[in-house]
């Protein structure tokens, strides 16, 4: 799509019709979007790291994983560590959806990381957009709780009531994550 060729902030270009088009593409799961690494470096061996031989990865990151040169073929710069998911993004602990209980031993990889994409390849088709550009409806002064209820809900605005409940960590880190709600 043309919008992916924008070299600058798309603010001037983004109107309702374009946004609708983007969302429709995302909903349809248009192939070819998402994991850019896959286009140049298909995953092999299920390790999610791009390649099983030195220099065959498509990543531009320095290769730091593993204990020595022979183990740095997967192209990842992160590792699972001791199984905790501290300091790692969502989706399996280090950018992939692999179960952390399954260390990758296949294809010479020593880590289960995948640098730029999730294993599902389910990244929205917004490749040309800057990171962290967020669009939100303008809040309206309506749907107010009574003050006592507002205090109990953690927000004055009923439209902002999004309760979260503690649950098992989706990263399988073994910790209890989440909170009791509240926002604004």
């Amino acid at each position: 799509m043309e919008y992916r060729n924008f070299g600058e902030t798309p603010r001037e270009h983004l109107d309702e019709s374009l946004l609708r088009q983007i969302l429709q593409e995302e909903a349809a799961g248009t192939p070819g979007y998402g994991c850019r690494q896959n286009t140049t470096s298909p995953r092999t061996g299920g390790c999610g790291c791009g390649a099983g031989s030195p220099g065959a990865t498509g990543t531009s990151r320095s290769r730091q994983s593993g204990a020595g040169n022979n183990t740095s073929t997967c192209g990842c710069s992160r590792s699972h560590g001791n199984g905790n998911c501290s300091g790692t993004p969502r989706g399996g602990g280090c950018g992939c959806s692999r179960n952390q209980a399954q260390p990758a031993q296949e294809s010479g990889c020593t880590c289960t990381c995948q640098d730029t994409c999730t294993a599902s390849g389910n990244i929205p088709p917004l490749g040309g957009f800057p990171l962290s550009m967020v669009y939100s409806p303008h809040q309206e002064w309506s749907g107010l709780y009574e003050p006592e209820e507002a205090l109990a809900q953690g927000t004055l605005f009923s439209a902002l009531t999004f309760p979260w409940y503690p649950s098992a960590c989706p990263e399988r880190c073994g910790k209890t994550c989440g909170n009791g709600g509240g926002n604004t």
Binding site: Q139, P147, E148, L156, T184
Partner: protein, 84 residues
Amino acid sequence: MMQDQKKLYKQIQTYSFVLYETALYLDTHPTCRPALAYYEKYRCRLREALEAYESQYGPMTIFTNQNTQCWDWVTEPWPWEIEC
């Protein structure tokens, strides 16, 4: 804590909360008249509740210690000593 004191304390909590919420809204909607009217309404209620509480139970902040004979701030119960 006496029942009346609890009730006033809860009112102060409640009015403070909705005022914070409204203030956050007004940060992005500074000319929203209904929000401004709502803010003014609960600003007055908070002031009244604070005056009623402090006249009977002591200062809520160090800026409202009115006793010139005793530093009530340190002799009143701390927040963690107040049962809600």
